[in-house]
């Protein structure tokens, strides 16, 4: 595992030095939910508060200048990280807001058009129109679209899954047609680990004139991603899963689409002119950033980007790939253990869900927790995916740069311990 020196990295994360449950050293394998933060990120946030804190874009005094500069540099830095220009980067509070921003463009345009406001017809929905997602979406990329349909009369469709946890691509032919107005697809599934062929799907979407959206929450933190290469109109992700602070998310959009979309949250700092009778709006990205912004969090996220780039995203991906291969090998051979998701490491990320025969995932997680191993149990905000695989829930490990092979060994040991404890034949 050349490149990623886990021991050295761990030293940058104070929390990884703590113990849990009666002095057991912490093994954190829940980075799919949220990652830990290196001191570099904490220092950057704190330094901002201690030296330059002010409302960005809302003042002319020196602190306001500095805060605006810090915020806009952070935007440029985050853009650069994914191959995008500053003006294509919108800051939100999390990926969920980013995806809602995308979805509300449709319901808002539809309502505005009904009362005479001119809107881009691509965002105007009516009965007969359809919205396409997949059966492996995180709730954040499913429910907003369900709501759009409930508010416009459009119909939700979804790409089904194979037993191996991949998209049934042959179904696309039927699912994407002239009724399709938007296709929103997860890049890497948070529950199955599957990496989807999003560029191909976006091309199919564009062929019928649909808007293409990608949920890149689980890909951008873990591999090099050039958002333009995805071919999407909009790409959403969160800062807190990529070493950044809580409270900040990102929406990338092409200039064309961001210009065409109506605003979402409205208020201060997103306007051009305001009168009681009506207002006009600033160009993107400002148009989508109403209110005093999360400047400290943007600064922290930029520091997270610096940290990841210093490691190199190729190296990060290679490191996780090695962990994935090892974990799939070990878990795949463990009696009574079934992996939910692709069994091979190709086109697959490091989030691995599994079930243990005769033990509820919650109980597996509890035994692991008791050994100091933090994993996630439940439906992982992808409940329909659980239903598809006829499991009530799964146990999921999701390693990151601060995990190594020994952490995988610990999980295997933990599963065996659970089988012993619950007296399940293994």
């Amino acid at each position: 595992m050349a490149g990623i020196e886990v021991a050295r990295i761990k030293a940058d994360f104070p929390i990884l030095g703590r113990t849990v449950r009666d002095n057991k050293p912490l093994i954190y394998l829940d980075s799919g939910a949220t990652s830990q933060k290196p001191v570099e990120v904490l220092d950057a946030e704190r330094a901002f508060y201690e030296t330059s804190n002010a409302a960005a874009h809302r003042g002319a005094h020196q602190l306001a200048e500095e805060a605006t500069g810090a915020y806009e540099s952070a935007r440029a830095r985050v853009g650069e990280f994914v191959g995008a220009a500053s003006e294509n980067i919108v800051f939100t509070k999390n990926a969920t807001e980013s995806l809602n921003l995308a979805a509300y463009a449709f319901s808002n345009s539809t309502a505005l058009a009904r009362w005479g406001t001119r809107v881009d017809p691509r965002f105007q929905l009516k009965p007969g129109d359809s919205v396409l997602v997949t059966q492996m979406e995180h709730h954040a990329n499913l429910i907003p679209w369900q709501e759009v349909c409930a508010k416009t009369g459009a119909t939700l469709r979804w790409i089904p899954l194979t037993d191996d946890g991949r998209l049934e691509m042959s179904a696309l032919e039927e699912l994407i047609d002239s009724s399709t107005k938007v296709v929103s697809v997860v890049h890497q599934s948070n529950i199955l680990g599957t990496i989807n062929p999003v560029a191909e799907i976006m091309a199919r979407a564009h062929a019928v004139g649909a808007v293409g959206v990608v949920d890149a929450c689980q890909s951008i933190p873990h591999m090099p991603v050039d958002v333009r290469a995805l071919g999407a109109d909009l790409v959403a992700w969160s800062g807190h899963k990529m070493l950044g602070p809580t409270g900040i998310g990102v929406l990338y959009g092409t200039g064309e689409i961001l210009n065409a979309m109506p605003p979402f949250l409205t208020g201060g700092s997103m306007i051009a002119t305001v009168e009681m009778e009506g207002s006009t709006y600033a160009p993107p990205p400002q148009k989508f950033e109403a209110g005093v912004s999360m400047v400290a969090q943007a600064v922290g996220l930029a520091a997270a980007v610096d940290y990841l780039e210093a490691l190199g995203m190729q190296q990060v991906a290679a490191h996780e790939h090695a962990l994935t291969e090892y974990a799939l090998l070990l878990l795949g051979h463990l009696p009574g253990v079934k992996i939910i998701g692709p069994g091979q490491a190709e086109d697959r990320g490091s989030a691995i869900s599994f079930v243990v025969e005769g033990i509820h995932p919650h109980d597996v997680g509890q035994i692991l927790d008791n050994m100091g191993i933090a994993v996630r149990v439940g439906h992982h905000c992808a409940w329909p995916t659980c239903r598809r695989f006829a499991v009530p829930a799964t146990t999921r490990i999701s390693p990151y740069i601060y995990n190594d092979l020994s952490d995988i060994d610990a999980v295997v040991e933990g599963i065996c311990e659970a089988q012993r404890f619950f007296k399940v034949a293994s």
């Binding site: 449950r21 009666d22 509820h360 995932p361 919650h362 109980d363 509890q366 008791n370 439906h379 619950f422």
Partner: protein
């Protein structure tokens, strides 16, 4: 705190050998409760026998704590008048919110005292409470209890 304090033998026994599991022929009130964070499910049914005592039917899927809790509930409250059952329910709720510091009364709670360790694991309290919240809901739906006197959020 050892893992054994959470998973006491009584709990594991109820989990492996649930008592009275199954549905009623003619339920008065039915409540299907789900724990949205982990997907645990309990379908709880109530009716009253000729003597006024509670009849309980249930099914469910989920972790050992939630399913054992349903089994213990069945054992504790079936056959009791609604008011008696409610006292036990309240005692169980109190136990769960004790953060592990309670000295539960075995007279009242029977096998349910085994859940004392659960109170130290905030994320599991909801599992243990699931059938008991469903019970209240089923009683309200079946007209055995009014919303007002069944308020313990």
């Amino acid at each position: 705190m050892s893992i054994e304090s959470l998973y006491q033998d009584i709990i594991l026994d109820h989990y492996k050998n649930p008592r009275g599991r199954g549905l009623l022929a003619a339920p008065l009130g039915v409540a299907f409760h789900v724990n949205p964070t982990c997907g645990d499910e309990v379908n709880m049914q109530v009716a009253t026998a000729a003597d006024g005592g509670l009849l309980i039917g249930y099914e469910g899927t989920g972790c050992s704590i939630s399913q054992a809790s349903a089994s213990v509930l069945y054992e504790l409250v079936r056959g009791l008048p609604v008011a008696e059952a409610e006292k036990i329910r309240m005692a169980f709720l109190e136990l769960m919110h004790s953060q592990g510091h309670a000295e539960p009364d075995e007279e009242v709670l029977g096998d349910a005292i085994a859940f004392v360790g659960v109170a130290k694991y905030p994320a599991r309290i909801k599992c243990a409470l699931l059938p008991w919240m469903a019970l209240q809901d089923a009683e309200i739906k079946g007209g055995l209890m009014t919303e007002a006197n069944g308020d313990q959020k």
